[in-house]
């Protein structure tokens, strides 16, 4: 046998991804770094029509690990994309703007660092979820209330705050109730914002800015730094609470209703955020869209009459007892008399518009819950049970108990999977993308926004599903839902086209989105070039190589 020299081995220099992987494993341990195909494919799934695939996923547990990760990725010329819980549903989820980023999943950083009961704040890490903080407050008998959103108990508070999410209570404008951000920057330095910048400052957790300009806003909806800690202000448990539910039968009166609610907020009668849902939005929360009406025609009371769906829509809405508009808000006071006076003022103002109001106090809720538990399971009581349960969903949110209520509607067109989408719409194949224009809280604008939404949605074959939210005393937002079936490629394309058409139509009429996915941000950028150019210059100063959230 002829002896042959062995072939020279390939050069041992690892590919950059392998080198990066090794570096990250060194930082967090191999258990918390993955480039497993299934995990990456899972991270690439999105409720919006298009997702992106990361190159690696790393799960740090401390700020120092985050710093080391940023430095390691920067050294390789890569980019990181931080996600707190990855549940930015309907707004690009956990997906970076581009493929190939290192996804920094901060969910292991889930420490509640401090809760101060007298000054009413909590210092939390990004992995702290709504459910975890609420449970902590309950377990330690802290008389503070966390504002909750409809994203569910597993959603990160920090992630939602940094995306300027909106809750349900008096502190529902969440971005306005945080401070002392601890941010890891692209060069690996750690920045503390506001009063916290002055090491040992006494007012660190109670005010968002000290002398000089405030930087907090730079790290919301930007991803220009990785926020590893922040302070969230909590609301003391009110002495007396009642819950307001309102129903409006006239579909075209949303403008007048919003204006009336604005007046009530401006005069301090309503203390917090008010949400008003239209009938199709709520219908999506209680059932899936009937297949028998699947021919590209939207379900609606009016426009689809000639297509034969008018009667069907009427029947469905009647079956679930849904009026044209349904709203909820909380009423609080230091005494029963104060709450009663506010209730009278609300009824007086809204009854003029034909709004039916129901106000239930905490004690009624407690009694009702006992009665509900005692009811036999006869069909006779089904309507009562359904109405009560729906009301309780609202009560829980208004009380600051996180709920997945807003997500129920995401499954409206997802009918091909048996998986439950109650806590994660991605699992059930649900497709949802939201367009959320800001508007002044006046009747004319609300009517116009509602009409734009209706026209564009119907033109693209989607139902008119919208929620109006009075975020502050003066400003409202309309959250327009585009629900689609992710398993249906044609419907996905239609949803993407509808999203763009809606954003464009709103921008053309002066309604700028308050939030959006990557696509909406690109469109907003084109509408305000001077502003975005200035932002680009700031960004280059902070992160010239685009190490964090490149492309965002």
């Amino acid at each position: 046998m002829t002896a042959t020299a062995p072939l020279p081995r390939a050069t041992a220099r690892p590919a950059p991804r392998d080198a990066l992987r090794a570096a990250l494993e060194h930082i967090t341990g191999a258990l918390y770094v993955t480039d497993d195909d299934a995990a990456l494919a899972r991270a690439a799934r999105s409720t919006v029509p298009e997702g992106t695939r990361p190159a690696l996923i790393v799960r740090p547990s401390t700020r120092d690990e985050v710093v080391a990760i940023v430095c390691a990725v920067a050294a390789q010329g890569g980019t990181v994309y931080p996600v707190s819980g990855g549940r930015n549903w309907g707004y690009s989820d956990a997906c970076a703007p581009e493929d190939g980023a290192v996804l920094v999943d901060l969910s292991r950083m889930s420490r509640i660092v401090e809760v101060n009961a007298s000054l009413a704040y909590a210092v939390i890490e990004p992995g702290v979820t709504q459910g975890a903080l609420a449970a902590h407050l309950r377990a330690h008998d802290v008389p503070l209330r966390m504002d909750a959103t409809g994203a569910g108990p597993d959603a990160s508070i920090c992630g939602n705050v940094l995306e300027r999410g909106i809750g349900y209570g008096a502190y529902g404008d969440r971005g306005a109730h945080v401070g002392a951000l601890e941010v890891v920057l692209a060069d690996g330095s750690v920045l503390e914002t506001g009063v916290a910048a002055y090491g040992g400052a006494r007012a660190t957790h109670v005010r968002d800015a000290a002398i000089g300009p405030s930087l907090d806003g730079l790290f919301t909806q930007s991803g220009w730094g990785i926020v590893t800690r922040l302070t969230i202000w909590l609301q003391p448990e009110p002495r007396h609470t009642s819950y307001l539910f309102l129903e409006l039968r006239e579909p075209r009166s949303i403008g007048r209703l919003l204006a009336a609610l604005r007046d009530l907020r401006l005069h301090g009668v309503l203390p917090g955020v008010v949400h008003v849902y239209n009938e199709m939005r709520l219908l999506g929360g209680v059932m899936r869209r009937p297949v028998m009406a699947d021919d590209g025609t939207p379900l609606a009371r009016d426009v689809a009459m000639e297509a034969g769906y008018g009667a069907l829509t009427e029947r469905l809405l009647a079956r679930h007892r849904l009026p044209a508009w349904t709203g909820s808000a909380v009423i609080t006071g230091a005494s029963r008399a104060e709450v009663a006076a506010k209730r009278r003022a609300i009824k007086r103002r809204l009854s003029r518009l034909g709004v039916r109001t129901t106000v239930v106090s905490d004690s009624v809720v407690a009694t009702g819950a006992r009665l509900r538990a005692m009811l036999p399971s006869w069909r006779l009581f089904d309507p009562f049970r359904a109405t009560w349960d729906r009301m309780m969903l609202g009560v829980r949110l208004l009380r600051g108990e996180s709920s997945v209520q807003s997500l129920y509607g995401a499954g409206w067109r997802a009918r091909t999977s048996d998986a439950s989408g109650a806590r994660d719409p991605i699992e059930s194949g649900a497709g949802i993308t939201w367009v959320a224009p800001l508007l002044p809280a006046d009747a004319e604008c609300a009517n116009e926004v509602n009409e734009i939404a209706r026209t564009v949605l119907h033109a693209h074959g989607f139902e008119h599903q919208v929620t109006f939210t009075l975020v502050t005393e003066r400003a409202a937002t309309a959250v327009v839902s585009i629900c689609f079936d992710r398993a249906d490629a044609i419907e996905c394309a239609r949803a993407a086209a509808c999203h763009d058409a809606l954003v464009r139509a709103f921008l053309d009429r002066g309604y700028v989105p308050y939030r959006g996915g990557h696509r909406a941000r690109e469109m907003a950028r084109a509408a305000a070039p001077v502003y975005w150019n200035a932002l680009d210059r700031v960004r280059i100063a902070i992160d010239p190589d685009g190490v964090i959230s490149r492309g965002r």
């Binding site: 209680v286 297949v291 009406a293 021919d295 069907l312 029947r315 129920y408 999977s417 059930s428």
Partner: protein, 349 residues
């Protein structure tokens, strides 16, 4: 016995009428079909329409199908007196039944497409594949049987009603296929709006009975139902003169105390049919081995996957010695690291 002249004339006339009807557009024939569809309050008295959920109800349905098919000469009598297939015990198969006086007097099954495929794949593989390619939920209607004692009492119409409610509000089924005797094709086409898949075949499993493949596309069917049926006078369930049904109302909205479907999940998530309990399926398969003995390995695997408690009973049989030795050798080769394609070419000395 010789047929009287009058009866012969009637039979010939019926045949001629049927032949003529099959060539006429559905819209012309529909009124005649609808004339015969009636439902009075008394038709439903004492009957409950539901999904089979207990072993007794399921067996009642299997027995009814067996008796009906053997009576029609479609099937040889089975020693168990039941007609059971692996599809019948899959978790997504819904068995609709009509119960009267504690007995199953009508049944119809809806078999969802899955890893096992559909029963129709055997005879109409191209047609089912064509429908399957559209995507979405596909199911086959099968195992329809009515007890002779309730024939003509609208039992079958109510079973279809139950089925429509199930697919519309619980399963979100998008396509339904069915193989029917060509004699009844026209009913499905004219009344229930099925389309022909233009395929006829002999059903070898049913003594080569002729069968025709039909398809119902449920997407956007509502306007067709409304257009055709919404204007018909409806009088359910108290129609004194047995008015023709308003079928869109009948299938879509009308509440019937006699129909018992599970409550819809809170947020409209798809509902699965009542599940077999582990002990139920185990007992059923153990006592009805006859129906599960000749299954191929893949079907057995899928059944085990659907019902893990059957793992022992539906285990793969021991492999023949030669096959076993080959498998052992292959495993040895894998362990030694020698690529199998080299084994034959390597010198043995």
């Amino acid at each position: 016995m010789l047929m009287s002249a009058a009866r012969l004339r009637r039979a010939v006339a019926r045949r001629l009428l049927r032949a003529a009807e099959s060539r006429l557009p559905a819209s012309l024939v529909r009124p005649r079909y609808l004339q015969h569809i009636r439902l009075g309050a008394r038709d439903l008295e004492g009957t409950v329409f539901k999904l089979a959920s207990t072993p007794e109800e399921r067996e009642g349905a299997f027995r009814l199908v067996h008796d009906s098919y053997t009576r029609k000469g479609l099937l040889d009598s089975a020693p168990t007196g039941l007609k059971v297939t692996p599809y019948d015990v899959m978790p997504s198969t819904a068995i609709f039944i009509a119960m009267r006086g504690g007995a199953v007097v009508g049944t119809l099954s809806l078999i969802e497409d899955g890893p096992l495929g559909l029963p129709m794949d055997d005879v109409f593989p191209h047609e089912t594949e064509r429908v399957r390619r559209r995507g979405g939920r596909l199911a086959e209607l099968s195992a329809y049987a009515i007890d002779p004692s309730v024939r003509g009492r609208a039992t079958s119409l109510m079973l279809y009603n139950l089925m429509f409610r199930w697919v519309w509000w619980h399963r979100y089924t998008q396509d339904i296929v069915i193989a029917v005797h060509p004699r009844v094709t026209r009913f499905y086409e004219v009344v229930l709006l099925f389309d022909r898949l233009h395929a006829r075949a002999s059903y070898h499993r049913f003594h080569n009975a002729p069968a025709e493949a039909l398809h119902l596309n449920l997407r956007g069917i509502w306007p067709r139902f409304e257009k055709l049926y919404a204007r018909k006078s409806g009088g359910l369930p108290d129609a004194p003169r047995g008015d023709a049904l308003n079928l869109s109302d009948f299938f879509g909205y009308r509440e019937f105390a006699e129909i018992q479907l599970p409550a819809q999940p809170e947020h409209g998530e798809p509902t699965l049919p009542p599940a077999w309990r582990d002990d139920e399926i185990e007992r059923f398969v153990r006592t009805r081995r006859h129906h599960f003995s000749g299954l191929d390995a893949e079907t057995r695997r899928l059944l085990r996957e659907a019902h893990p408690s059957l793992t022992g009973m539906l285990a793969d049989p021991p492999r023949p010695e030669r096959e076993r030795r080959a498998a052992a050798e292959a495993s040895e080769r894998r362990a030694s690291g020698t690529p199998p394609y080299l084994l034959d070419t390597l010198p043995t000395t």
